[in-house]
Symmetry: D2
Subunit: 295 residues, 4 copies
């Protein structure tokens, strides 16, 4: 293995752990974060100065404005022959813009979808990468350091954008898988004949068609709180589920289960449902059905 | 027109108004209800005694047990050649049972789906009828009295069960139409650029593809309460939406919009969503995403 | 009524009929179309020259590129104080761009969603309008000419974009209403007990909760072809259904019935379903279930 | 371990493998099948005669009529104190009937949902069991023989019916998980930027949130046929998905993702979609949109 020197921007929950895993693999990482407690250097300029050409800088900041700002700054600080990797949760449609902006200065661009969450430091991060082969190849030692051991967990998915697109679809699938277990759990909880839903879930962890890591996590959660009484049925969405549905619409691909899962999250966040007010109003209009008044 | 003599069992909101409309058409109605204040006679025996053979008795009581009891009683009280009409909201699968039970005694059976709600007394009731031609024909004067004027509002839909089946599908369609307006209303309410959703709905009442009686009712409701602030987003379901989905499953017919409308009602009645607790639990497990605690 | 002089660009099926209806109301219309057979003038320059300031020009060309081109040209040809109306099917997100571009030259902008299809010439067009009051007011005589008689069919829905947004939601609702009737029709066709689905639909045209203009059209279609045997189950989508779902996603509004209707159209256009190939492959993998080979 | 003697009725793909696995564990199995080539004995009478009281007989025949027949016959052949296990895919609502029928003769009843498919012989079968503790306990050595090694793969889920109910929900979850991967696969296949969908799926097998046994199977399938060109997008359903949705309706539990998955299978089996014919007919009616003619 060739030890590399990497600039890493963004040292939050994900970035911080990634810095540690890359260092454990023997590479040098200069990390920058706006929080001085986390940062190795005082500025992006300092970070760039600490690297030698051809430089490689990994960006791990929130999608949208923050990533755009960092890409703009790096465009000014880096030189032709350097490479920028966006490992954040950017929308794939941003990647081509960033690639063009940097390409105008001779700087390479790679997009990397990163999966693994809080377990990544220990187990490795699954990586889905998009970009030109020459840029992707330059990053290979870092990808090796981050990915899980063994033949899986890394793919060069296609050209610029394909990494984030693949990660986005991964998350869309994740939404529907979670929804699948959640629907099954609610139905079992509702059934009279069933006495121990947690043990049913546990029994499924081996030998069944539906065994999975998510199922293992569900059992972990039920072991902490058998009926999830400590939680509210409220779920945020990170944006990637939305983009998945939008990409499906762009491509005229029907996506009923993933979209149902996204909508279930939207609904979970409403204190009262405006659309169901209208249903109640209509029922009252034509049938004289009684309605419930707002509190 | 031949004036008829009809027995009518069940004089609630629907049955009471139907009695009035049939009488207004010049027929004689002997009505029975468990509530003596509503009833013309003291018992079913008395009702049957007041009719002359071949007797015609219209049953307008709640589906399931109550209808079954009345059919059983009528089987004992009536004679061969008489006819029973079930105009309640029975599940179509009950009709064949009732028809067989009565046919064993030579009594005819007709099932009638009745639409029109509280507006039926004035506008007439739409009728969907199932049964053998000979039994249906006998009822024709009563059907004429109940239905709206003009060429619509009545159909002999097929054999026994077809009347309630058609009414059930009518209600399934109704669920999805209501859901359609409700979704559109919520989306317009959420849009920044839109300032007057009620007037948009009102403008649609003529000249648009989506004009309908339900739309008129929606505007009525918004005129009473522009943002439906007096209502809670809570909707019961009467059973016919459930049966529609079950019939679709029996026939392997995909019914995505109607089923989505039914599920939206189920969800509207949950104070907290068990399945979304599981989603929250899983997000917390793999991503360390924060969760909201139950109150 | 003040007779107005209007420039109208785009004289296709919609624009041509609108020209006729506006003229019938006593206004002067100078129409331009790329097809010289339809056009009143030879060029946009000629059209603008034929109007007197403050000029009003109605654009009725396909959304996207064509509308953008015309707006650009009009920006060059018109003068401060003139007004442009986009009555095409533009996405509401385009409206603000167009308004800003024209406002920079002192030209007003109004967006108008127009419903009514081939029936509009006779019955009038429902109009949903967005823009500043001063620009909208200037158009009032034209809106009066186009809209149906009576108190409906016109609304000033809000600021720029609100007209197209409202029309888009109208179309989203339309998708789900059509899907509602279509699902009900398929289920009735599949039921053993039902003998005459067309007459059931016809009976619903009056006295029912689900009576509507779309239902009337369904009966018209069934009168021409009782079992729709002449048609293939294939449906295009015009874009507005897609935008409705995207707007819902932007606003975190769950839209299950409308989205299901859109996805049903996507699926209808696939000769074979890639996702169902994967389902078949998985069933074969774990269960040894037999699969059907591609033809 | 106490070696047991078990009667096993139904030696098809599942039953045959289960006989082998139980024998490998050291128990004696007398198998009966209508196919003499597979059967150990010539009749049920002979099978029962070969066992000693208290006898245990495992039924592994198709749900519905065949299972009912065998239960009826066993009711006549067995004696008080014996136990019948239904390990087939019976609907949970049948279990209570069977239990009552046998209880009237003092015969115990246990329902067992069995998962594992063609891989069960080697890996073990996951078992979900319902019934009274005394009957379930008697079967423990057989359950031990069938289940996978380790702490998972077996649960006593509740009273009679709970085993099949749990297995049914397992299969409902399975439908939605398969649909999740299938939707993601179709979307990736449709994306321009993505060049190697199979390798993306393979990369997900480790380190991702969505890793699972079904994902492994998907990769197996893609390794045999990268774009699934040999398959048609056609999927049967075994009944348990339907029952899951029906159980959800009974319990007023919204099940959008699982139901969407079921409906996608229904649609996959239609050569042409009746409901989309109606959509096409309506579009033609109001918009003059062109339609595609049936072939």
């Amino acid at each position: 293995m060739t030890a590399m020197k990497l600039g890493l921007i963004g040292l939050g929950k994900m970035g911080g752990n990634m810095r540690e895993r890359i260092r454990q693999a023997g590479h040098t990482v200069i990390g920058y974060d706006r929080d001085p407690e986390l940062s190795d250097v005082g500025s992006l300029t300092e970070l760039v100065a600490g690297l030698e050409g051809p430089r490689v800088v990994w960006v791990m900041v929130p999608a949208g404005g923050p990533t755009q700002s960092v890409v703009d700054e790096l465009g000014d600080l880096l030189e032709a022959g350097d490479t920028v990797v966006d490992g954040g949760n950017s929308r794939w449609t941003d990647d081509e813009k960033h690639a063009e902006e940097l390409a105008a200065k001779g700087i390479g661009f790679v997009d990397a979808g990163v999966s693994g969450g809080v377990w990544g430091l220990e187990n490795g991060y699954a990586l889905m990468v998009g970009g030109d082969k020459e840029h992707v190849d330059r990053l290979q030692p870092i990808f090796e350091a981050l990915k899980p051991e063994g033949p899986y967990g890394y793919v060069h998915a296609g050209k610029v954008g394909a990494g984030h697109f693949s990660k986005m679809v991964h998350n869309g699938i994740e939404y529907a898988m979670m929804q699948a277990y959640a629907e099954g759990w609610e139905l079992l909880q509702a059934a009279d004949s069933v006495t121990d839903v947690r043990e049913i879930f546990r029994s499924w962890e081996q030998g069944t068609v539906i065994r999975s890591w998510l199922l293992d996590l569900a059992v972990n959660a039920l072991d902490k709180d058998e009926h999830l009484e400590q939680l509210r049925g409220y779920a945020e969405d990170s944006g990637e589920g939305r983009w998945t549905v939008e990409a499906a619409i762009d491509n005229a691909v029907p996506l009923p289960a993933i979209t149902a899962s996204l909508f279930a999250r939207f609904a979970s966040r409403q204190d009262d449902s405006p659309q169901m007010k209208m249903i109640a109003a209509l029922r009252n209009q034509f049938g004289g059905h009684s309605v419930e008044s707002a509190k």
